[in-house]
Symmetry: C2
Subunit: 290 residues, 2 copies
């Protein structure tokens, strides 16, 4: 059975929302894409690049007649948006999102009487430090890991359609419990974002003349510090418990390494770098951002 | 006056040493390049890729007749190598290195009676997580920042030649005190290496199945964790005081951020990410590794 949506509603016309629209259209997987953006300029840009075909006046209007809704807004707003659309959703409409945290969103949507069974949380490990629909791409999800966090109340049909939709866009889906998802991404995405910003903060301790004299290693390591501050403040507050846990682990590692340096433990430092090189070398794939 | 060395001795035939040889030869800036490597295989590879023209039996033999010596070995061995070559150095030979730390090397070479006035420490912010002369490149130093750390005992001629040599290879030289150099790179290179390894260490806290499910953000942020463990253990022990200082600053930042998350301080988190994005965005150049 081929995958085709007559009408897709995309809420939030940014890099991810725009890429969902472009990717579905590039694969002939949808009729009309209707968009809701928070600013006139993002809607106009979305129409211009062809990520959406029309703009809806509000959330209920976007929901009307849609057979797929993809919420691509900051994590703190996802559940509220779905609640606002709920009474206008068609009976067979499937609802998903692209939020970088899953536990709080899933728990909140589970409370909604009608939407709970239609909703399957998603998190594609795709993105960029670049923001906005003008950087959207029809190929953004190709080879990207896409976490899916269905709950017992989600209908099997909704789960199947969400999984097939991402796979159709080139993603590799992985089903996982929402809490496990949030634990994983705290280590692999959220802590790295926090730390990258703190490495940039280190430049402030240098004489001004020298702050720009950084090598490619520094630039790569801190590239994600250029990401959207609002998006990341939202994520950090939402997944605070897991991120604090990950930061505590990092502090322990720093304390141990400090002891190695204090005591001139060359062999222990060497062994640490050697083990971490082996582990990093084993990740010999290249994927989209997360 | 054009720059030409009749005979260049390169000690340490790896990525950097090999690239110095290839770059000098590509620009017609030298006659013969003689190399000393720590293994038969690195010497053979160096001859094969054309980074060196001949192999010397030992350090004194490499020094004989050379008008430029470039020491490209781990930082802990640089001063000892120069001491061993000292009595064989020609009167007009200039000696430099490519070590990632400068204070300990400069202080040790300053003690040498003959070599002190011929030596100008260098640190090109160029490299790669890839190791070995087979990854060497004649263009490695193009647009790279090259720190120079001359001391009062260095002759003006040696300083001029070292600076002109790096500029001839495309580098942008910056003169700086050895101690200031070590402070700068602790923040911009050494701490990022330590932290990248610690982010990789976080993968060990995940169920094995999930450790490989990382996005491009994680891969970029931790790319330098694939660097040569011996080289980095050596650097960390050598620059331990400055690195410990940088780690302490990071721990303070982590503590402050932890408080923000504990107290749900959205505005403070947003402001932190916003400031660091602005600072990172201002480094809008792309250079070689450090």
């Amino acid at each position: 059975m081929s995958l085709f949506f007559d009408r897709v509603a995309i809420i939030g016309i940014g890099l991810l929302g725009g890429s969902v629209g472009l990717a579905l259209k590039a694969r002939g997987a949808c009729g009309t894409v209707v968009g809701v953006g928070r600013s006139r300029s993002s809607i106009e840009a979305g129409l211009e690049v062809g990520a959406i075909d029309e703009a809806a006046a509000d959330l209920p209007q976007a929901a009307e007649g849609a057979d797929l809704v993809v919420v691509c807004t900051p994590v703190g707003s996802v559940a509220g948006i779905i609640a606002e659309m709920e009474s206008s959703l068609d009976e067979n409409c499937v609802v998903t999102d692209v939020g970088s945290t899953k536990q709080s969103i899933v728990v909140a949507v589970e409370q909604l009487r009608r939407a709970a069974s239609k909703f399957v949380g998603s998190h594609p490990l795709a993105g960029s430090e670049k923001k906005g629909v003008r950087h959207a791409s029809a190929t953004l999800f190709e080879s990207a890991t896409v976490f899916l966090t269905p709950t017992p109340s989600a209908e099997q049909g909704a789960k199947d359609i969400t999984r097939r939709m991402w796979e159709h866009l080139g993603g590799r889906t992985v089903e996982v419990e929402p809490a496990v998802h949030d634990h994983i991404v705290a280590q692999t995405s959220h802590l790295p974002h926090v730390v990258a910003a703190m490495l940039v903060a280190g430049l402030r301790t240098l004489p001004e003349d020298y702050a720009g004299l950084t090598g490619k290693g520094f630039l790569d390591t801190t590239r994600i510090a250029s990401s959207d501050p609002e998006m990341w403040a939202d994520i950090c507050l939402d997944n605070a418990a897991e991120i604090r846990h990950a930061m505590a682990r990092l502090r322990n590692d720093l304390d141990e390494f400090d002891l190695y340096l204090d005591e001139g433990e060359y062999e222990k430092v060497l062994q640490f770098f050697g083990s971490m090189k082996a582990l990093r070398d084993s990740l010999n794939h290249e994927k989209s951002d997360g």
